[in-house]
């Protein structure tokens, strides 16, 4: 079984809503798909919404951290939105620091934040 996460384009931003639990392969395909989409659309920003996700382990955190850094190399800014309380608590207790990662409470705030950062 292989699932792909849809990546939508809105003006010069890409929007990704991760709707279900990520397995390793889906996470890695997502990484490649997002970078490819950045390349083909010349988008300048990405919002990754994690609202439905109820846990993140170190592997998914690493993939997310990596894709943020990779997008940065390509000149795009990434904002992560919708991290649930339980996810924030377990990530910190697990010892994972997503440092220098731009975050916002929800998709709407995330898009606003991204627009401000792209203008500034």
């Amino acid at each position: 079984m292989k699932t792909r996460i849809p990546i939508l384009k809105l003006k010069d931003c890409l929007i990704v809503s991760i709707q279900w639990e990520l397995d390793d392969q889906t996470a890695i395909s997502f990484q490649e798909d997002l970078l490819e989409k950045l390349h083909t659309t010349s988008a300048r920003g990405v919002v990754i919404d994690l609202t439905p996700i109820d846990f993140i382990d170190s592997f998914i955190a690493k993939v997310l951290g990596d894709v943020i850094n990779m997008s940065g190399l390509m000149g795009a800014k990434v904002v992560i939105t919708g991290i649930q309380p339980a996810v924030a608590i377990t990530l910190i207790e697990l010892g994972i620091r997503l440092e220098n990662v731009s975050t916002a409470l929800d998709l709407e705030n995330g898009l606003e934040k991204l627009e401000r950062e792209l203008e500034g």
Binding site: Q25, F55, D57, S58, A61, Q84, P85, T90, E93, L94
Partner: protein
């Protein structure tokens, strides 16, 4: 009490193990934060088994101790074992190039944590979370 278990052979079994863990945690009555802690701990333990031993097993069991009720997770494998347990329990120590947050993270997420390991024979990690 019934023991539920998942054999860890492929990456997909990591997903199966944590789904089983989340279901069992729900059944015992854990809240959403503890469900996330248990699910994450199982995912880390299952990944360790997959990465270091190639294959093994995750067993999940409801346990009681006095008035306490909880969930016991046992990750076992017949892999190479852990040469330096003290080092493996240090934050940031890894022999896999940074995959997996390691055992100290799992210990922090759970309430009870025990490692039994014999080099060349295998490893058994037991982690318990108590219902508050």
């Amino acid at each position: 009490m019934k023991i539920e278990s998942v054999d860890i052979i492929t990456e997909w079994d990591i997903v199966a193990a944590r789904q089983l863990g989340r279901n069992e945690a729900k059944k015992v009555g854990f809240g959403t934060v503890d469900q996330a802690r248990i699910t994450t701990a199982i995912s880390e333990l299952a990944r360790n088994v997959y990465l270091y031993a190639g294959k093994g097993n995750i067993a999940i069991k409801e346990v009681t101790e006095g008035n306490l009720r909880g969930l016991l997770v046992i990750a076992s494998d017949e892999g190479p074992g852990i040469t330096d347990v003290r080092k493996a329990m240090e934050d940031g120590y890894t022999t896999s190039g940074g995959l997996g947050a390691g055992l100290p993270g799992v210990k922090r997420l759970m309430d009870g944590f025990k490692i039994e390991t014999v080099v060349g024979e295998g490893t058994k990690i037991s982690a318990t979370k108590w219902l508050r």
